[in-house]
């Protein structure tokens, strides 16, 4: 099963008993239904699916308006960058609504267009900035385990949040892990492997890179603890730090294009621990404007160098 197929299935599962939930957005009920993301929701769940005009500002505001009147909704966005048009509502309306501790749910489910080649204007992957500006909960979904956890816990629960999906992963075979060793209650992070040599923390949509690094480590006979950091804001890092104190090495991978990112906070925390001998913070290269060109847009790791630095 591929990523989008699985997410679609999890959405339908989570919405099964949620009569009265409104699913809305551009093309959610026509054509490919946002590349299959919203396919079958109306038929199989009894939610109302409303196809809408192209007016992101108004659509975000409408989600909050429904929330204010006790109706839960999900706004599915074809591209996260379209949400730039709705930030006034994200910030100002949310700051009002949250004071009243709403009982309804409003979720923006946005596809992060990170599959490259769209050009500079449709390749924004900065989920963290949208969340930072109004202290909004945000979660990135990268694999079977975090999809289950995050959709299950957040899709329709009181309050507001943004859930980001990776366009790059859409058609790919779903990433899965044998087990979840531990996780934050809210799905802020999940741990999939436990190894004695290195701790790997993958931010935003960089779990494929983390998996690749694990394979490279295995080739050298080394075992790693792998964490996905799904929250777009800093969370309680203690268990990850504790793990890194045991391995003595932490590799923080972050593929986001923002200037400020929660991964800096984890690094700051790790720097305060004497037991962590090496801290490797992998981010994208912004030394030239090349990141604005149409390209594969994927953070490429030099695993050899990373391993060398982490284990030195």
């Amino acid at each position: 099963m591929n990523y989008v197929g699985f997410v679609n299935q999890e959405l339908k599962k989570a919405l099964k008993d949620k009569k009265g939930v409104i699913v809305f957005g551009q093309n959610v009920g026509t054509g490919s239904c946002v590349s299959g993301l919203s396919r079958g929701i109306e038929k199989e769940t009894g939610c109302r699916v409303l196809n809408t005009q192209n007016s992101e500002n108004t659509l975000v505001g409408a989600g909050f308006g429904m929330m204010r009147n006790g109706v839960s909704s999900i706004y599915i966005m074809k591209q996260l960058d379209f949400l730039l048009l709705g930030i006034d509502q994200l910030v100002n309306t949310y700051n009002y609504i949250r004071v009243f501790k709403p009982s309804a749910s409003f979720t923006i489910l946005a596809v992060v267009v990170d599959n490259g080649y769209q050009g500079m204007q449709s390749s924004l992957n900065n989920l963290a900035d949208f969340c930072s500006i109004a202290r909004i909960p945000g979660y990135a979904i990268t694999n079977r385990r975090d999809a289950e956890k995050i959709i299950g816990a957040h899709l329709v629960s009181p309050g507001f949040r943004i859930i980001g999906l990776s366009q790059r992963l859409f058609g790919r075979e779903l990433i899965d892990f044998e087990q979840v060793i531990s996780c934050e209650a809210d799905g802020g992070w999940l741990q999939y492997t436990d190894g004695a040599d290195v701790t790997i923390a993958c931010f935003n949509f960089s779990i494929p890179q983390g998996r690749g690094l694990i394979e490279a480590l295995k080739d050298k006979g080394k075992e790693a603890s792998l964490f996905s950091i799904n929250s777009s804001s800093p969370v309680e890092w203690s268990p990850i730090i504790a793990n890194a104190c045991q391995t003595g090495a932490i590799v923080v991978i972050d593929d986001i294009k923002s200037v400020n990112s929660p991964s800096v906070d984890l690094v700051a925390r790790a720097r305060g621990e004497e037991k962590i001998r090496t801290i490797t913070h992998i981010t994208r290269d912004f030394s030239s404007l090349d990141w604005l060109r149409p390209n594969a847009d994927e953070l490429v790791l030099n695993n050899k160098n990373i391993i060398h630095q982490a284990l030195k």
């Binding site: 009265g20 409104i22 109302r48 409303l50 809408t52 005009q53 007016s55 500002n57 108004t58 659509l59 975000v60 505001g61 409408a62 989600g63 909050f64 308006g65 429904m66 929330m67 204010r68 009147n69 006790g70 109706v71 006034d88 509502q89 100002n92 309306t93 009002y96 004071v99 009243f100």
Partner: protein, 312 residues
């Protein structure tokens, strides 16, 4: 003009109009006295539409306001004390001390959302009306905007949304001709609201003259229409924000016209009585000219008695 007696014109309307005017005059006295830390936008001259809206509302109806909202809040709650307590940020204030002036709403009084950001409340009102529709509520959302806020794209987008989904919304455009210190012609071309409404096939009404009895009649007709047709309506209300003064400067030795925008209305004094301007621009002047003078004076006296505790 034929004089009416109070019961002919609705005692409640007359009393409410005076309460909203005198309540504001009391707030103004406290404001001049330096009692408030929150910035307040008085709405002297806006009383007729506010009282008419309030009297048109049925129990399930909802009002959505903007930064200039004191007239609607007073008309709905009837409590000048709670309004002032909110401006003083007391827990017993109309918003529990959480909302201050520019975001003051009160769900229990049918004021569901108030935004200090231009245009921001229209998408939210759209979503509220959509929620009402899906829940089959017999109610109308009344959203108040202005000739400044209607310059925001959200106005246009929201009209599309309301018409598309067949929502029961009454959009009140309070047109005082000013945005801060800029007159319409100083900041933009004319936008003909009647023509604009036609572009969407939306009903459009104009109200002017500040005759409270006629305003109530017209709005009740509009409310009935929107309930019946499941369609939004735009109501263009021409009015004057009272409280301007003239300022002599080097460039304007004869004195320059300064419109009232926010803060204390320094030239307005409660001791001068409830009428601010002897013209149709002043709803209280219009009321006075409709009523027998003794009756008018009696109503004023009663209101002043109720308010005496709130004066500085």
């Amino acid at each position: 003009m034929k004089k009416m007696n109070v019961s002919e014109m609705s005692e409640k309307a007359a009393n409410d109009l005076l309460m909203v005017r005198l309540g504001q005059l009391v707030v103004n006295e406290r404001y001049k006295n330096g009692d408030f830390k929150v910035p307040i936008h008085l709405a002297l001259g806006h009383e007729a539409i506010a009282v008419a809206v309030s009297q048109t509302m049925e129990p399930e109806d909802q009002l959505v306001l903007s930064h200039r909202n004191i007239h609607y809040n007073l008309a709905r709650s009837g409590s000048v004390k709670e309004e002032i307590d909110e401006y003083l940020l007391k827990p017993e204030g109309a918003g529990g001390g959480w909302l201050g002036s520019m975001n003051l709403s009160r769900k229990s009084e049918g004021v569901a959302y108030t935004s200090s950001i231009l245009g921001n409340n229209l998408p939210v009102a759209s979503g509220m009306a959509l929620a009402n529709k899906t829940r089959e509520k017999e109610s109308v959302v009344i959203v108040v905007t202005g000739d400044g806020a209607m310059e925001e794209g959200a106005f246009y987008e929201s009209l599309t949304f309301m018409k598309t989904f067949g929502l029961r919304v009454i959009v009140i455009v309070e047109d005082n001709g000013w945005s801060l210190a800029s007159r319409i012609h100083e900041r933009r071309c004319e936008i003909d609201l009647n023509q604009l409404a036609k572009a969407f096939g939306i009903r459009h009404d104009t109200m002017e003259g500040n005759d409270i009895a006629r305003y109530i009649e017209t709005l009740r007709d509009i409310r009935e229409w929107t309930m019946d047709k499941n369609e939004p309506v735009i109501v263009h209300v021409l009015l004057t924000t009272l409280g301007h003064w003239t300022m002599k400067t080097e460039d304007y030795p004869e004195g320059k016209f300064i419109n009232y925008h926010a803060g204390p209305a320094k030239t307005v004094n409660i001791g001068d009585g409830p009428v601010i301007e002897n013209s149709e621009a002043d709803p209280v002047f219009v009321l006075k000219s409709r009523l027998d003078e003794t009756e008018f004076d009696k109503l004023v006296k009663n209101q002043l008695q109720n308010l005496s505790g709130e004066l500085p």
